[in-house]
Amino acid sequence: MDKIASFLVPGCIALVLCFGCFRRVPVFSVFTQGAKEGLENCLSILPTLVGLLMGISMLKASGAFDVLSSFLEPAMKSLGVPSDLIPLALMKPVSGSGSTALLTEIFSSNGPDSFTGRVASVLCASSETTFYCTAVYFGSVNIRNTRHAVPAALAADAAACVVSVLSVRLLLP
């Protein structure tokens, strides 16, 4: 499996380049043009990112996640969600690095093959960092009125949370 994964990136690049050379595209100058655009995109999302990560870092430092998780614990317990997973479920939409840290913590305290470890894995792999993704995508085109994008994306996250517990129960007895 690891072998296949390590061929993935070079393979994709080779495939794209073959197509380009076959069609006699001036590949290097096209590449540099695109790279320039990519760097401009980086600059255009930076202000959004500064605002977002500032807010998230404040949320993490303030202990808001602890307050929220103790608040949510009774409700989640009745849904069959182990209490170790609540901080992860709250962190997942907000911060990618934060949720990876929580995931490794769960792995070392419960083991990756425990029920909690499996659900945590499924939860982490089945959704992206919602706020990062929405902020970066809409920030890159300067749209502030995102309409129903955030509610819809959060509904997807909530569904991932419930279904990850159910699917591990169902498929990995």
């Binding site: 500032m54 807010g55 093959d113 129903h148």
Partner: protein
């Protein structure tokens, strides 16, 4: 929406920090977070530039036209407003493929290229906010459907899992359920304004 979320995040942090006595940590966090954003951009800028360059070659060489044809049934429904704009559809297809292959650092630059192309296409309407297709596209990206989550598999292997990939079917089921929930919710909320 983003205005409200941002103000809400900061208000909640200040309130909670006052409650739990972590004001010192909070004031440090303000500029740490801002600094993290610049570090993050610096660390992904190279990959962003490289993948956008590859995307341009794929567009010029016709590779993305091949993907466009393969993914047509999906993109026609997902992005009906842009189905006749090859620039949007090809960037979106490259983004979808990168997502499926689990190439996270390729998916973002290609997704941004698709958003920029959508912006160019409907610049006159954007004062009223994002278009329905843009929202569906972003929801699709937040739900991240991937065939093999390589990052997670290596984390599990490093933690000593007996079989790091045994959870694959559960992941597929969960991402599909999350994606459908997101798209259905988007559909239901579409009519409200705009």
């Amino acid at each position: 929406m983003l205005n409200g979320i941002w103000v809400g995040m900061i208000a909640i942090s200040i309130f909670c920090a006052a409650l739990t006595g972590r004001m010192d940590a909070l004031s440090q966090a303000v500029f740490n977070g801002a600094g993290e954003a610049v570090q993050l951009i610096l660390s992904i800028a190279g990959a962003m530039a490289a993948w956008t360059g590859i995307l341009k070659i794929a567009e010029a060489g016709g590779f993305s036209r091949l993907l466009e044809r393969l993914l047509k049934p999906a993109t026609r429904r997902l992005l009906p407003e842009y189905k006749d704009d090859p620039q949007v559809i090809q960037a979106a297809c490259m983004n979808l493929t990168a997502n499926l292959l689990g190439l996270g650092n390729a998916a973002t630059p290609m997704g941004i290229s698709a958003m920029k192309a959508m912006e160019k296409h409907s610049s006159s309407r954007l004062t009223q906010g994002a278009t329905d297709s843009m929202i569906r596209f972003v929801v699709l990206n937040t739900a991240s459907i991937q065939i093999i989550p390589t990052m997670l598999a290596s984390l599990r292997a490093a933690a000593g899992s007996a079989s790091p990939l045994e959870i694959l079917p559960a992941i597929w089921l969960t991402s599909l359920a999350a994606l459908s929930t997101g798209l259905i919710t988007a559909k239901l909320l579409e009519g409200r304004h705009g």
